[in-house]
Structures are given as structure tokens and as C-alpha cells.
Symmetry: C2
Subunit: 458 residues, 2 copies
């Protein structure tokens, strides 16, 4: 029985299992649902045992548990793949906006509705179906690669114990490639692979001037105004081409290859539609790059918040004592968050006018960007696997946002490959989350082929 | 009996009357004290009648009453002088910081402590003593000029009905010169006259971008950020010399004369002491002007408040939907607030980037600056009068702030002359307000000579 036939034959069984799991409201951000998160971990462990994994463990953390499983390849020389996903889900408020109850999974047409259907239970579960399909197709009783699963329970509440867990269990997690199934592809008819995510570091900048608010009649125009200095500082963050003017900011940037830019240009991007999604009437960004390149390939400096002085009703004619701003920087491969923090600090301190004092508070060590090597064998294998499943060329995308994935690559020292079938229209983190069931089956088919490709048995 | 002898002889009687008036807690900003403000008006009316004014009237307003009095000169061709002051006082909080109860007037050394002692009951009352002294010295039973008093009851709560009252009573207020006794002089040993106050107009600027806050991972660096645009806009408000860059802003400025700048330079200004008062560690302002000139003679643009995006704890990686700033402009003679508003609007609108929308809300029509003509006979007469009283040269100062005085000049079409003896150290609007009684007596002496000087009888 070939992979596709097996998957079609087990469609109902697969969906039935998924619905069972989706019925567990494993909301990690809500302490009232922490028992449900633990129940979700046990459900998954049982399911993995039933799938045939010889090793299945629930890994406790100071917070909520992750699930680990391992199925060694018959050939001890075969590569090891680690699959990352999560079994906790987002909260459901405003619950009155759901068309069907969030924890009563409901099929409507090709869609399966329910919290976690796309993010991430559906995408975790297609791995078990894909693995069974690969075994059925090969007739073997062990996969062509050693398959490890690590499915965390705190992803939707900040992955606060995840890096620590990975470090503590580092020896059990050894692998040659990490497969991430927690993202989206371009469109249902345009399968794609994410090949990078931006990093992040953020800072709160405060400028302090007079020891108290001053009457602007008595002192205005004769002492430095912290809000004015903040405006000058933030205005100087970018040059006329909307490039970031912090000295050295771009020094370590690894530019995307011409091949990747060419592949991005092939995506059927509709700028008008994108602007409608952005609820903005104009696109604007670094000169010389397209909108997609600005979001995916280029670092940014964004003012997230700013405040100081009188912000209530009416006028108050003061020179305020302080000004504050929150600025976040999206980073790209090559940029070290801590090095960027040093450069931002130097930029600010070089620009503090006489009479003012600057304080910078960085929001932790930041997150590095990650990107796949487009020429790596693992990435090529995954692309071939998805193209076999979908029967159409697979393009590359990136994510403009930042996640714990870079930590995974760092801790494990393994390349990341994103195999995921979510869609932007899946309403993840919103009411009426759903997943397209045909895409889940394509996901299962893709990973079945991927194990073959990586095991060299295709 | 000469003026000074009369005043010395009536010192105790004068202070006794003032203490009686200061005991009335006429706090206009506190509705619980509005009856006291009315009582204060009646007390003043009775006192003016006792002084000898043939006409004394309490003028009701939709709010709190003003007191008007008139004493015609014997010579119907003599000039008419209108004295402006106010009989309401500031609130007293924090009352626990007063060394003596605010409405139990207490003499300590040369100081008389109590709310309103300097601002403004003491400075209103020296006019009655001065007028009696002038009559005693001349032996006449009418003053050498027609003296009118207008003492409002809402100055400390915004003078909300004052302009309307003046317009309604315009015919009764006709005068050749208006004397303002509600300000300060440079120092007890450096008598001075205020010869100008700055005007004011203020605006709240809002910039609107995306219809909602956007995720900076998905949209940052590719749509215009309203906070960034606000920083650019406010940074562009001044040029490198800290001159205001709004086109046409300085077009109508009437520059202060070389004589006035020279007189300001003669004031014993201690910049280090001033910075200590400002609680600032540096002075900064328009290139080419001293600190006093920046505050008194030059228009300014001051950012009073600014806000937008995430201003709470922690990070929130958004492109905010809007940015807001409050900006106030101090104006100098020649500048029309409404014309400045037009120019500020044009400046902002010319700089709104694509994809953003600006809204400007001006805080009313603004206030014009006022300044005395240093060569006017009235000003020269007042300076001579003060020099006779103090026995030392009288210098000129200005006020950096703005008040209703420009309205008085506008409505009455009369030049303003500031004769006042308050000190910066009088703690007006603060706990432990006081006045120096020797200066109040010098104030009385000054106006006695002023009526002579203006009446041509000196």
C-alpha cells in the first residue's frame, strides 16, 4: 500500500483522534486550564504509544509538561530527526464570536473547526499518520530515520521553561535535523516552506531632564526639553532611505541570496490585498527592497510606544521632566542581539544633549534570527518531499516574526526545516480557528516522504 | 504732610485693613469658598467707599463678582487711569506645609504671611493708601487723575468671564492708561517694571496610520509608523540653531529694541542660580540670545506632552495606530495667534507622510503678547514715580508667561503699565505666601507719585 493510499484509508480514524484531542481545552495561559494541559500531555503520550513509539515520556517542567517520544531507525547509522510542536492552545476570548464552540471540534466542508486545529495539534498529529503511512508503504517495522518528537506545553504562554528543558535533556534530543511543524504556507494552492524567522531585541529608552516639570512660560525655550530630545533621537533612527542609522547596525547582516530573492519575487503577492490586511493606506520601508523583502529579509527598528509630559485632557504648558519610548529591533541572520544592544546604547548615548540623562533598559538578551541554508541536503529533501505530496513546485517564504525556533537550532546545533500546512486564514489566536483537513493529509504525506528522503530509501 | 510721611503714619491702619481682608478665604477655584469670594468683594467695596471713592459697584458675572470704583479728577481734562487687580486667591493645599494658617495673617519681621498677601490683595490695597497719601500731600479733595479700579474675582480660576465683563462694561472702563499691579519686580533691592508678557497658542497634533495596532513582526518596516512620523515632525520643529522652523513663524515678530536688550543685560542675572531654580543642569535655547532674552523676548515652541502605542509595562511589538503630541507656542509682540495657528497647520500638513492622516486641535484662539512702548509718556511717568519712591534706578523686565493683560490692552485700547512690588520669593500659588510690607508701602508711594506725574502736578 503506498503512502497516499494508506493516508486516504485512515482519514476518518485520524480525524477522530484529532477531534478527541481538540476537545481538551489545554490553554496554558489560564491557570484554570492547567489540569487540561496535563490531560492533553497524557492523551498525546497514549496516542504516541498506540502509534508504536517504543519510548514515550511526559517531561515535567516547573510549569506545564512536554511530551517526548522516540522511535529508532532499524539502521543505527540512519539520521535522526527531531520534530518540534506544541500541545497547548491559545485562550478563546471573545468566546461569543465563535460560530461553533471552540472545544467541540466541528467539520464544515473541508475545514475542521476548533481551538488548536491548526496551531498546533493538527500539525503535530499529522506526524503520527505520516509515520504509520511510511511504515505501511515500506513494510518495515521501524522508520527509515530515527524519529524523535518534542511537543511542549507552554508555547502559547511564552515557552518560559523550554530552553531550560532542552538544555537539561540535551543528550536525549541529539539530532541531525529539526523539523518544525508550527507555521503556515503561502496558500492552499501554493505550498511553500518557511526558511527563516527574524530575531528580536527591544529596549525602553528614557531621557531625564529637569528634576520636575517646569512652567513653560518661565523656563520654556531656555532649558533642554526631554520630549524634544526624544523626538530628535527617534527621528535620527532612520536615514532618508529608511535605513537604520545606528552605526554598525548592518555590519554582520548576512544578505539573502539572489536565489532566495528571486524565489520570493515568484510568490503571487498582491500588495493591495496585503495593505487591506494591514489596514494601512500606504506601504513604506527601506529603499531598494520589496514589501515581502522588508518584512522577511531586512532588519527593522520600530517605535512601539512613546510617552511623556501631559497626556490628559486640555493643555498644560510645561517643559516635562522626562520622555520615554519603547523600540524593538527585528534582526536577521548574522546579527547578534547583544551586539546590537551595545550599538543602540552607543547611538543613544552619543546623542543625549547637555542637561539630559539617558537610561536604557533592554528586554532580556533578545532572540537571534534563524534561516535555513537553501542548499542543505535536509532542506532539499524536505522540498522534494512536499513537492511529491502536493504535485506542484514548493516555494520559499520567511516569517517576519520571531519565535523560540532559533533556540532550538542553537541548543541542538541542528539545521531547521519547516514542514507545515497552516494557512494565514486559519484564524490562529482568534475566534473560529480551523484547519483544512486536505492540507493536514498532505502534511502527513509530506513527512512520510521526508523520512524516506532523509533515510535514503526513496 | 508729604506722601512718604503720610504713608509711614498710616502703616498700622493699612496693615490692619489688609489683615482683615486676608482673613477672608476667597478661593475662586473651590465652589465651597464662593460665598467667601462674594464676601471679599463686599469687603473691598466697603473699604473703597471708606477710602472716599464716590462710585463703588459690585459687578456680578455668571460666575463670581468683580468690584469697580471710580474717583473723578477735579480737572475734567485730566487723564483717566484704570487699575487692574484681583481679589480672589489660590487654593492652599498642601495646607500642612504652611508655617502659619493661610487665613490667619501673621507678621514675621518685615514679612506679612497669608494667602493673597502678595497675589493680589496686598497689591490692590496699596492703591487706596497711595491715593489717600496723594490727596493728603496735595491738600485737594479729588485726585490729580481720574482713578478707576477694576478688581476681578475669577483670576485664579482662569478669568473665564472677564473679557465678556470688560466688553459689556466697555463704556465705564474708558481710560488713557491701564496700571497692572499683579506681578513682581526683580528683587527687593532692584526695583523693576514688567514691560511685556508673551502670548500663547497651543495645539494637540494627532497622526493616524493603520486602522488598528499591527504586529511588528508581520508588518513592521513595511508600513508607515505614526510614532516615527511624529518624532520626525517634532524633530523638524526647530532648526540646528534652535530656531522654530515653521515657515513664516517669525515674519511678524517685532524685535525688542537695542535699548531694551541693553537694559536686560544690566539685570544682575545669575545663570547658575537660575538653573538651580529650574532644576536643570544645562541652559539651551535659540542661538544668539541670552537666557533672559530667550524667556522674555523670543517666541518658543515647546512639546508639553506626547503619547502613542504601548506605554505600559513590558514589551509589545506593535506598529501603533496613532501618535499624539501637545505643543504650545509662546508668542511675542507682532505675532497673531490665529495666523500662527494657520502656519503650524500648514507646517504639519506639508509633512504628513503617505499613509498617515493628521488632525490638529487648537486650544482656542490663543492669547496675544503685550509689551509697553518704552518711550511712551505713561511708562516714563511710572518709571519716574517708582524711582522717586525707591530712590534707585528702575530697570525693565518681562514675563515669559501669558495672562489676561493683553486682553485688557486690546479691549480698552490703552497702554499697559505694570507697577507691582511682588517678589519671586513670595511663594505665590504655594504654601507660605507672604509679602514684604516695606515694599507694599513703596508701592503705595509709587502710585501716589504716579498720579501726580500723570496729572502733571508733580
Amino acid at each position: 500500500m503506498d503512502v497516499r493510499t494508506y493516508i486516504e484509508a485512515h482519514r476518518e480514524e485520524f480525524l477522530s483522534s484529532l477531534k478527541e484531542w481538540l476537545a481538551i481545552p489545554s490553554i496554558s495561559a489560564d491557570p484554570g486550564h492547567h489540569d487540561d494541559v496535563r490531560r492533553s500531555a497524557r492523551w498525546l503520550a497514549d496516542h504516541l504509544t498506540a502509534t508504536g513509539f517504543p519510548t514515550v515520556e511526559v517531561w515535567e517542567t516547573p510549569g506545564l509538561p512536554a511530551v517526548f517520544a522516540e522511535w529508532p531507525a532499524a539502521d543505527p547509522g540512519a539520521p535522526t530527526v527531531l520534530v518540534y510542536g506544541h500541545h497547548d492552545v491559545q485562550p478563546v476570548d471573545p468566546v461569543e464570536e465563535w460560530d461553533t464552540p471552540p472545544f467541540t471540534p466541528t467539520e464544515r466542508g473541508t475545514s475542521l473547526h476548533g481551538r488548536g486545529a491548526s496551531d498546533d495539534k493538527g500539525q503535530v498529529l499529522f506526524h503520527t499518520l505520516g509515520l504509520r503511512a511510511a511504515l505501511a508503504a515500506s513494510g518495515a517495522d521501524a522508520p527509515p530515520v530515527t524519529v524523535k518528537l518534542l511537543v511542549e506545553g507552554e508555547e502559547e504562554s511564552g515557552s518560559v521553561h523550554f530552553a531550560e528543558l532542552m538544555k537539561a535533556r540535551r543528550d536525549r534530543l541529539d539530532c541531525d535535523v529539526a523539523v518544525i511543524s508550527d507555521t503556515t504556507m503561502w496558500a492552499a494552492d501554493t505550498p511553500s516552506m518557511c526558511v527563516g524567522m527574524r530575531g528580536l531585541t527591544d529596549v525602553e529608552i528614557s531621557l531625564y531632564g529637569p528634576a520636575r516639570d517646569l512652567h513653560s512660560g518661565s523656563f520654556g525655550g531656555a532649558v533642554p526639553n526631554p520630549l524634544k530630545a526624544m523626538a530628535d533621537l527617534l527621528s535620527a533612527l532612520h536615514d532618508r532611505d529608511d535605513r537604520i542609522a545606528v552605526p554598525g547596525f548592518y555590519d554582520d547582516v548576512v544578505e539573502a541570496s539572489a536565489e532566495e530573492r528571486e524565489l520570493i519575487a515568484r510568490l503571487p503577492f498582491d500588495e493591495a490585498e496585503w495593505l487591506a490586511t494591514a489596514a494601512s493606506t500606504a506601504a513604506r520601508g527601506e529603499r531598494g527592497y520589496s514589501t515581502l523583502e522588508r518584512i522577511w529579509l531586512r532588519p527593522t527598528a520600530e517605535i512601539n510606544g512613546m510617552w511623556g509630559g501631559h497626556t490628559g485632557a486640555g493643555g498644560k504648558t510645561i517643559v516635562p521632566r522626562s520622555a520615554h519610548a519603547k523600540v524593538s529591533f527585528r534582526l536577521v541572520p548574522g546579527q547578534e542581539p547583544l551586539k546590537i544592544q551595545d550599538r543602540v546604547r552607543a547611538f543613544v548615548e552619543a546623542r543625549v544633549p547637555d542637561g539630559l540623562r539617558a537610561e536604557l533598559e533592554f528586554g532580556g538578551p533578545g532572540v537571534r534570527a534563524c534561516a535555513s541554508d537553501l542548499s542543505s541536503p535536509a532542506l532539499k529533501a524536505a522540498r522534494r518531499a512536499m513537492e511529491r505530496a502536493f504535485g506542484t513546485p514548493v516555494l520559499f517564504t520567511r516569517e517576519g516574526g520571531s519565535g523560540p525556533e532559533a533556540d532550538i537550532a542553537d541548543v541542538l546545533g541542528a539545521p531547521l526545516v519547516f514542514v507545515a500546512v497552516g494557512l494565514d486564514g486559519d484564524n490562529i489566536h482568534a475566534p473560529n480557528e480551523k484547519v483544512e483537513t486536505p492540507l493536514l493529509l498532505k502534511g502527513a504525506e509530506s513527512v512520510a516522504y521526508l523520512w524516506e528522503e532523509l533515510g535514503g530509501t526513496a
